[in-house]
Amino acid sequence: MIMVWIVVPAYNEEKNIAETVRGLLALGYSNIAVVDDGSLDETAARAQQAGASILKHVLNRGQGAALQTGHEHVIRRGAEVIVDFDADGQFNPEDIFEAIKKLQSENLDVVFGSRFLGSGSKVPFSKKYFILPLAKLINRFFTGVKLTDAHNGFRVFTRDGLQKIQITQDKMAHNTEIIAQTKKNSLRFAEVPVRVHYSEYGQGWRGGVEIIKDLVINFFVK
């Protein structure tokens, strides 16, 4: 039996976190590390009550920073397969099984979730036809990797694969950084269809501009 750890970065998610954790537990994923990224609400308490392990950032550092903290923690705890999973309840825990199956059967290092493989996700119109195609182009420009989706937080890693990825982008540009490091380290990767249920819009144009700014600045930071 492989040791699977789920890493859930969370910021002010008291409304959704307990349901997200319970959904994962219901499918038998008992190793859940919720990284409370300096939330101002009851996120940590709700996640703990629901049955997750809690890591708490005293300051809000961003989703990328929270993921890296979670990754380092679960690697120390002996994780063999690591799943990145959003806290807002928009991902479907049932997709984890297929992703891990693909990771193992095809001997991969990383599996990325895609909203555009299969037809399970109802992506908002402007996001589907304007924001995400542009984000895919930008991702391809910065990483050289062609994927069917951009900035999807659902990922599965092997232990060895994850140990070669160090997230330095604290905010949302970590999505692009992970893909870039996957290519740089010659990790084997593939995509799997995931179903995303949109309860809120998520990142818009402004978030995209912020990501590009972070990626450009990154070139000059040693």
């Binding site: 990284v35 708490k56 300051l59 550092r61 903290t69 604290d170 600045i217 000059f220 930071v221």
Partner: protein, 109 residues
């Protein structure tokens, strides 16, 4: 020589000394110190002989000396702004590292 020129020259001489002092204290890299030294020297020359600006302006194909001074000032400001952004990003990453260390340490306890 008018009073304003004397004041400006004193300011630039002060800045030149300050740059040398910072280099001696190793608060500036040699390349940075040379950049700042040349900038303050240029300011000193301009405040001593304002006509020099017109000479340099013509060299660069710019009409008036004052225009050249504004362009140079803008370039310097943009560069400084860029340097500040890099510095802020580095500081931000340091804060993240500290936050992470504390989080992982707390988890061990």
């Amino acid at each position: 020589m008018i009073f304003a020129q004397i004041i400006l020259m004193l300011v630039f001489i002060f800045l030149l000394f300050k740059t040398i002092l910072k280099l001696k204290r190793q608060e500036l890299l040699f390349s940075e110190a040379v950049g700042w030294f040349l900038l303050w020297l240029f300011g000193l020359v301009l405040s001593f002989k304002p006509d020099t600006a017109s000479y340099f302006a013509k060299l660069f194909g710019i009409g008036r000396g004052i225009d050249l001074a504004i362009y140079v000032a803008l370039l310097v400001l943009f560069y400084l702004q860029f340097r500040l952004m890099i510095r802020i990003e580095k500081n931000s990453r340091d804060i993240t590292r500290l936050t992470r260390e504390k989080t992982l340490e707390d988890r061990k306890l």
